[in-house]
């Protein structure tokens, strides 16, 4: 005989669950899912925010791939940015995390200080400061003059170096990765290090043979997260260089924004957005597939 009480209890629990998440669900549907689906539709239309969207099929995508130099330029700049930023950021994060993984005085203070850039770094205010610092009349130029290097063009004004000021701003915000590494470092069993010491391993060998392999799940996690975030970078480029000079810092999302809100080319920007989703998804998939080659999960043993 079916236990009616049991199924009743499940339904009641389900309903409670849905009610509890209803505020989030409502927001998700209204502000996330519905706009997402409509933007797929808009990507096949000609829409300038003021008129009715006109269906034009694949024309936006065709124009993007074959007729738009700036699209390829911004894609190149963004890939360059991500492939420079993510390794640098992870390396710094790991380095600082290892330094902080000791018992020292004021450890909490250092941890907080290194984390602060992560919180404020993505803001407009910091970007403005960054622009001043690296700009023509900025701190960096003055310091260089002091030691005798007379630059004609500031780092921001030079098409070759401008992207590195943006990358530097990104690397400076390594705090969140650092905290995660720190937590992971503390998880590595001391017994491994002790047995290594008995076997006569030096610090470098300990790092390569124990720390790194044990950290690979976390490195993997950070890698995926930072790559996805790297492709979405916007504020730095928008404020510090506005995509210049000569589009050398034109990050993809900035180009998307410009297409949408300066040129009112809405349908096209939606197409751009979905291409970005596709690219990020592809890269993430590749990183996931590569897991088996280099990530060591203790639980799998």
């Amino acid at each position: 005989m079916r236990r009616l009480g049991q199924s009743g209890k499940n339904t009641a629990e389900n309903i409670t669950g849905y009610i509890l998440i209803f505020p989030w669900l409502f927001g998700f549907l209204l502000l996330y899912l519905v706009p997402m689906v409509s933007s797929v539709y808009f990507s096949f239309t000609n829409y300038n925010l003021l008129n009715e969207p006109k269906f034009i099929g694949l024309e936006n995508y065709r124009r993007m791939l074959f007729n738009d130099q700036t699209f390829w330029k911004s894609l190149g700049v963004t890939f360059y940015y991500v492939f420079a930023l993510v390794p640098l950021r992870l390396i710094f994060a790991l380095f600082i995390a290892m330094l902080l993984n000791t018992k020292m005085k004021f450890l909490g203070v250092y941890r907080t200080l290194y984390y602060i850039p992560s919180i404020v770094g993505g803001s407009v205010a910091v970007s403005i400061v960054w622009r001043q610092m690296f700009g023509n009349n900025g701190v960096l130029m003055s310091l260089l003059k002091l030691i005798g290097i007379n630059q004609e063009v500031s780092f921001i004004g030079n098409p070759a170096t401008a992207i590195w000021t943006i990358i530097l701003l990104g690397v400076w915000q390594f705090g969140s990765s650092m905290l995660i590494f720190l937590a992971a470092l503390k998880q590595i069993p001391q017994s491994l290090y002790e047995s290594a010491m008995i076997d006569g391993a030096n610090s470098w060998q300990k790092f390569i043979r124990i720390t790194l392999p044990m950290l690979t799940p976390i490195i993997f996690f950070n890698l995926v997260l930072q790559t996805i975030n790297g492709f979405r970078a916007f504020t730095e480029s928008f404020i510090v260089t506005q995509g210049g000079p000569l589009d050398s810092t034109l990050l993809y999302v900035l180009y998307l924004y410009r297409r949408a809100f300066t040129y009112f080319d809405m349908g096209y920007s939606c197409a751009l957005a979905w291409v970005l989703v596709g690219i990020i998804a592809l890269l993430t998939l590749l990183i996931f597939k590569s897991q088996t080659a280099w990530v060591y999960y203790e639980s799998k043993e």
Partner: protein
């Protein structure tokens, strides 16, 4: 019963969260005005239905402050009107407006610019004001007809022009004197200009031409008009000049000035551009001249009252290429439910003498003749100079009126900026840049014309 209690508590929690979110809608947006709802008490006195007009404009802090005063003045005069003002700077103003237009939540009264009025009209975002003109609610009889018509697109008057202005070369006479360069005359040529700019740099180390040429297409438009053509074709679907050499000559001059250090590079301009108009090199004495609109002297008067306005240089063929540009319009949103009240306000703004005494020509030369006369006694030195300059231009230097910019002008501006900068960074020859600009601009204009 524990299950029931959990259920009830969870429902209460959810609804309290929803209510907390909803109640934030009542917050008034942070505004630099005091005009928001000063007159609540007065509403009970009059029996007219209270109306809140939402209004937005761009400008500097000075403009925000006096416009707030104006809104208060109007609310005192007509107690049933209150205002919800959301001004901003020029940067981002039209992005925000476009987003609001898409959501049909544009403010009732919007300040509109020549660059965008065609697009907004074509898409029915702003309404036709002619019905209000014929009903005498919006009285434009005191405004010269050619000036009124600058707001007419496709037979509809979608912008009530508030002011007129013209391109000018504001210069700092002290810097000119320091370099020993004679001040510009009314008929100076581009050769005189170039020589002056480079001499200023050589003698004083300061910028001769302390501005950029790629933020907008105004200078290029002026240059092209001097050759009897226009930047855009009449129907706005392609460029309006045939000879690429015109653009090449322009690029060559810019290149010479930049290489001589008489003009800021892209890099240096990036720094200068972050400062407000009051801190530009010409104003602070670090630059000789620039290109700007005629109300520049008035805008920076508080900081430097000695800026003089010169007529922009002539080309060798002596063609009169200046034009009287509508400074800005007030438009009424098509989605507005208070169009008549909005039209009344615009009428007051344009024609009322007390109002214009407060405005004090900050938005440009007022368009109503009575207002111009009434303002004369209270004009400062710079304002008088601006009024005189406009009269000079209208009488002696102006060519035909320029049509409103076609859709796609923002993209064309970027294409022009790209080509100019490629030449300045030595990545392209001017000849190649001219050809590439034509190709890019035609593609952009054709694509936007289809919308």
């Amino acid at each position: 019963m524990k299950k029931g209690t959990v259920f009830i508590l969870s429902v209460m929690l959810v609804f309290s969260l929803i209510l907390a979110g909803c109640s934030q809608n009542g917050n008034v947006k942070a505004e630099p005005t005091q005009a928001a709802s000063v007159n609540e008490q007065k509403e009970s006195e009059s029996s007219v239905k209270p109306v809140t007009l939402s209004i937005t404009w761009w400008g500097s802090q000075t403009r925000h402050d006096y416009t707030a005063k104006l809104l208060e003045m109007y609310s005192e005069k007509y107690p049933h009107i209150t205002f919800d003002a959301t001004p901003s700077g020029w940067d981002g103003y039209f992005e925000k407006l476009a987003a609001q237009a898409a959501g049909n939540i544009m403010p009732d009264i919007v300040q509109m610019d020549n660059l965008y009025i065609a697009t907004y009209t074509k898409n029915n975002s702003i309404s036709d004001l002619y019905p209000f003109v014929s009903d005498k609610i919006l009285d434009l009889s005191d405004v010269p007809e050619s000036i009124v018509k600058t707001g007419e697109i496709d037979g509809k008057l979608t912008g009530a022009v508030l002011s007129v202005t013209a391109l000018t070369v504001p210069y700092n006479p002290d810097v000119f004197a320091e370099a020993g360069v004679p001040e510009p005359t009314s008929d100076w040529t581009w050769e005189d200009f170039e020589e002056a700019m480079i001499t200023i740099k050589e003698k004083t180390g300061k910028y001769g031409y302390a501005s950029d040429v790629w933020t907008d297409t105004n200078l290029l438009t002026y240059w092209i008009r001097q050759h009897g053509a226009s930047l855009y074709s009449a129907d706005g679907t392609k460029l309006g000049y045939e000879d690429d050499q015109i653009f090449v000559d322009f690029l060559n001059m810019i290149y010479r000035l930049t290489k001589a250090g008489a003009m800021p590079t892209n890099d240096e301009w990036l720094q200068i551009a972050t400062t407000g108009k009051e801190a530009r090199p010409v104003v602070t004495g670090d630059g000789g001249a620039m290109f700007e609109w005629a109300n520049f002297g008035v805008i920076v008067e508080a900081v430097n009252p000695n800026i003089k306005l010169a007529v922009p240089p002539y080309a060798d063929n002596g063609t009169k290429a200046l034009w009287i540009k509508p400074g800005m319009f007030f438009s009424i949103a098509e989605s507005s439910s208070n169009k008549e009240e909005a039209a009344r306000f615009i009428n007051w703004f344009i024609n009322d003498i007390d109002a214009n005494k407060v405005i004090n020509a900050e938005r440009g030369i007022p368009v109503a003749n009575k207002v111009k006369e009434a303002l004369k006694p209270q004009l400062t030195k710079q304002q008088q100079a601006m009024f005189d300059y406009l009269d000079l231009v209208a009488n002696e230097h102006a060519g035909p009126v320029s049509p409103p910019e076609p859709p796609g002008t923002a993209e064309v501006t970027k294409a022009m900026a790209d080509q100019i900068n490629l030449v300045l960074y030595d990545k392209k020859t001017p000849e190649q840049a001219a050809v590439d600009f034509r190709k890019a601009a035609n593609e952009i204009l054709a694509r936007n014309a289809q919308n």
